[in-house]
Amino acid sequence: MKKYNHLTCLLITLLFLVSCQDVRKGLGGKKIDEGNEFLVIKKNPLVVPPNFNEMPEPENKNKIIDNGTIKNGNSKSDFENLIKNKKINKKELISKDNTSSLEEKILGKIK
């Protein structure tokens, strides 16, 4: 009987002196007392915003926002115009280059 008492004493000592820990705490990361934010912040009910009707409709694809203004027009034609204008500008530039002499060109570049 005395022997068993001695053994229990030893086991209790082991229990207190050893400090092993469940692995789940380690794998779950450090748990910091963050509090429950849902209890702190009051949730507002879901409502339709007052300017909801003023928003643009997604169906109208022709509306293109250009420089902050809303335009009505075809996107394809606009693109074509842009390319054409670019071609014209290039032609103008080439013609200008032809008229100016080589000397002027070099001078211009130096300046």
């Binding site: 000592t13 082991l14 400090s19 092993c20 820990q21 469940d22 692995v23 705490k25 794998l27």
Partner: protein
């Protein structure tokens, strides 16, 4: 002459817990420094052994690990009393039993040091087989457990006859 002999014995006796304490401290410091540099708590992983830093504020198996400061201090006080009792037992005992108790003392002081200075004990050795994990422990725990197991074996196997032989 007798005084010198006692002094010599004390030095020899203190050598075992001192070595265990130093081993425990260096391993803990190494793991804590490693964890400071890495983002994750898991520092090393292999098929059977993982090194993962976990702070234990309670006792064995993570028991009594609550945020209560008073309970923590109470547990530390109990552990301190236990260490004093072990120390008294060491003075009174002799032979292999004394060495086993010295092993327990070395480990216990190592864990107590962390409890006092860090307010928690770092555990990092995680032995596992696939998904079966044993509890995470440290070097001090190894020596305490080994010491207690050897003490139990010593107590059970040593009959009165054997004691007389010694």
């Amino acid at each position: 002459m007798i005084f010198e002999n006692i002094k010599k014995n004390i030095y020899l006796s203190l050598f075992i817990p001192f070595i265990i304490f130093i081993l425990d401290r260096t391993s803990k410091m190494y793991v804590i420094n490693l964890s400071k540099n890495s983002f994750d708590n898991e520092l090393f992983s292999s098929k059977f052994l993982n090194i993962i830093l976990v702070w234990n504020e309670g006792i064995a198996f993570g028991l009594f690990s609550f945020d209560e400061r008073n309970l923590y201090n109470f547990l530390t006080l109990i552990i301190l009393i236990m260490i004093i009792v072990i120390f008294i037992m060491i003075i009174r005992s002799f032979g292999p039993k004394k060495n086993f108790l010295l092993m327990v003392l070395g480990g216990a002081t190592g864990n107590l040091y962390d409890r006092v200075f860090y307010k928690a004990v770092p555990d990092f050795i995680d032995i596992h087989f696939e998904n079966l994990h044993w509890f995470v422990f440290n070097v001090a725990d190894i020596f305490i457990t080994l010491g207690v197991i050897l003490l139990i074996l010593w107590e059970t196997l040593m009959t009165k006859k054997n004691y007389e032989k010694i």
